[in-house]
């Protein structure tokens, strides 16, 4: 293919636009606040998920380290030490949320998150609800997510007497990377079903059986409602649910490229995971939190701003300037220093 081939140029520019189209720092900053804030609340308020120290007291007979723990010879520490690490991790999540020493705090969230979240999976069974969080921590640790709406930004602004709010490609790729991670996860789940069972996954009675079986306390959490067996009594319903699930999982990567597909697959899969939680039991709250990366928070902020302006009947807004389209008031503001 020649370098000046228009088609090749088009693919290259589409690639660049997808990953590195300049964006304001606001969207990524909102994602940072909501992502780390939600995780802090989730792990802080639910000791079932957030208390890792109990694993320090479990017998070695039950220790079956996951691949990376084995390869890096990572041990299970004593309960007291794990409790300290857990405290540091929660502090790092809080600091990442408010954007204080963000490089250090996001890196700490990644390193300790890898250890603490990986620990339970080294005891008998690997669950699949939090693997993507570690990858999300990696992306956030390497991103410039604290360039806006952070304490770091305030301190830098005070020190340098200037604001730096350039629209940049630095604020696009982390969000796209999160889309990619989620797409890989769901597509992998769909491929696994087709590979192991083919279309029999839909046509067989499997989902019908699982809807009943999960009333027997087999999953990591019990179903929130006992309606599963009643759903199973309608012969066609589990098959429709199975077909919908596999369609949503396999089609999920389309959400990366199509705005219309995004409106179908992202809420569709979130609804599917909610249904799983209610009818079968396994919990996917961490996935729910990661869905926030699909929301265009600039757009939400603009709508809120417009609403507040309308309510107050004035031109200004308590939110102040700073978000909006790339070409708006601050898009290419250059630092004075």
């Amino acid at each position: 293919m020649r370098k000046d081939d228009p088609e090749a140029r088009s693919i290259a520019s589409r690639w660049r636009d997808f990953w590195f189209a300049p964006d304001t720092p606001d969207n990524l900053a909102f994602c940072r606040i909501l992502f780390f804030g939600s995780l802090l609340l989730f792990y802080g308020l639910l000791p079932r998920f957030g208390d890792f120290s109990a694993w320090g007291g479990v017998s070695n007979a039950l220790w079956q380290p996951i691949f990376l723990f084995r390869a890096l010879r990572i041990p299970v520490f004593h309960s007291e030490i794990i409790a300290i690490l857990q405290g540091i991790w929660m502090t790092a999540l809080a600091m990442s949320c408010v954007g204080l020493l963000t490089r250090l705090s996001t890196a700490t969230s990644l390193i300790l998150g890898f250890y603490l979240l990986g620990l339970p999976h080294s005891f008998g069974k690997i669950h699949h609800y939090d693997g993507l969080l570690v990858l999300a921590f990696l992306v956030m640790a390497l991103s410039r997510c604290a360039d806006r709406w952070s304490l770091d930004e305030i301190f830098v602004r005070q020190r340098r007497q200037s604001t730096r709010r350039l629209a940049s490609c630095e604020y696009t790729w982390p969000v796209r990377a999160m889309w990619l991670i989620m797409s890989l996860v769901f597509c992998a789940a769909g491929i696994a079903k087709l590979r192991h069972s083919g279309l029999a996954w839909i046509s067989s009675d499997s989902l019908q059986i699982w809807l009943i079986e999960h009333q027997y306390h087999v999953a990591n959490s019990d179903p929130l409602v006992s309606w599963g067996p009643y759903f199973a009594t309608v012969p066609w319903l589990p098959k429709v649910l199975a077909a919908t699930s596999i369609g949503l999982e396999l089609g999920y990567p389309l959400a990366m490229f199509s705005r219309r597909a995004r409106w179908i697959f992202v809420p569709g899969v979130a609804l599917m995971q909610l249904s799983i939680r209610f009818l079968l039991g396994p919990s996917f709250e961490q996935f729910m939190i990661c869905n926030l990366f699909w929301v265009r928070w600039n757009w939400v902020a603009d709508r809120i701003k417009a609403l507040l302006r309308k309510i107050s009947g004035r031109g200004g807004s308590p939110l102040g300037g700073g978000h909006g389209e790339v070409d708006s008031d601050f898009a290419l503001e250059v630092s004075a220093d």
């Binding site: 300049p22 490089r103 990986g118 005891f123 491929i191 192991h196 996954w201 059986i209 079986e213 087999v218």
Partner: protein, 272 residues
């Protein structure tokens, strides 16, 4: 800026050197004494609890373990110091986090090592995922996400399940299916863990140890008031089989149960 470029790395080297020296002195002169006193139960409670195999291992075993640990900690300290010095380099910082002060050109186009770092991260994410999908392996945090992928053909269920044997009430049994009794283990993890131990060549010893562990944790949680279950004499591991009822009415009434192992915490031995 000059502090960051010149003094900070030197300061990190000095701090690392001091920490490493202090650690070497501690590990050589004080560590073995602390290990010995913990071995004989004469140290702080936390340190004493770290050594529990006095009946099977001599003191020299723990001193050797201490020597290995102290070397690993020393290496860790030096590595951390080295990483910190590297992280203060402006070129490394701009590669890992981007330029501190972006020009318009840098904001619009990423180039050089920064772009390379981003592509490496994306390659790790895609490569790790595709590897697991292709090989159907679990390499947490990567996975092929195989849950619920194999079709279920029969309306029957087999589970490894723990039953508590009450200390009173005529040694009645009840299934430990509530998380508060078995935490931090959930039911899926209990089934998978005991299935693995049951298939192990040293199953008898491992199952006994695992049951002892579950029992002592159950009692500890009960004494802390974290559940209101009855005191237990011990635990039993059963392989339980059900024929699934369309409305799950036989959850507490399985078709058959096969006793696989029985165990109890050490200090519960001989209790009625």
């Amino acid at each position: 800026m000059s502090f960051r470029r010149q003094k900070l790395p030197r300061m990190i080297v000095a701090v690392t050197g001091c920490c490493a020296s202090i650690w070497v002195l501690f590990a050589t002169y004080f560590g073995p004494q602390i290990v010995a006193s913990a071995y004989y139960g004469k140290s702080a409670r936390l340190l004493n609890s770290l050594i529990s195999g006095q009946s099977t291992h001599p003191l020299s075993h723990y001193l050797e373990a201490w020597r290995l640990i102290s070397f690993e900690v020393l290496w860790g300290l030096l590595l951390l110091g080295f990483a910190a010095v590297i992280a203060t380099r402006p070129t490394v910082q701009s590669a890992v986090w981007g330029e501190r002060a972006m020009t318009q050109e840098q904001a619009r186009y990423l180039t050089g090592t920064r772009l390379l770092v981003i592509y490496i991260v994306l390659c790790v994410i895609v490569g790790g995922s595709l590897f697991c999908i292709a090989t159907e392996t679990e390499r947490w945090p990567f996975s092929s996400y195989p849950m619920y992928s194999k079709i279920q053909q029969t309306y029957s269920l087999t589970q490894f399940r723990l039953y508590g044997v009450m200390r009173d009430e005529g040694a009645k049994e009840f299934p430990l299916v509530e998380y508060r009794y078995t935490q931090p283990f959930d039911n899926a993890r209990i089934d998978a863990s005991f299935a693995r131990l049951y298939a192990h060549p040293a199953q008898e010893q491992l199952l006994k140890e695992a049951l002892r562990d579950f029992h002592s944790r159950y009692e500890a949680l009960r004494e802390q008031g974290r559940h209101s279950g009855p005191p237990l004499r011990g635990l039993r591991l059963y392989k339980v089989v059900w024929t699934l009822d369309p409305l799950a009415r036989n959850v507490n009434d399985p078709d058959r149960r096969e006793l696989l192992a029985e165990g109890h915490q050490d200090n519960a031995q001989g209790r009625p």
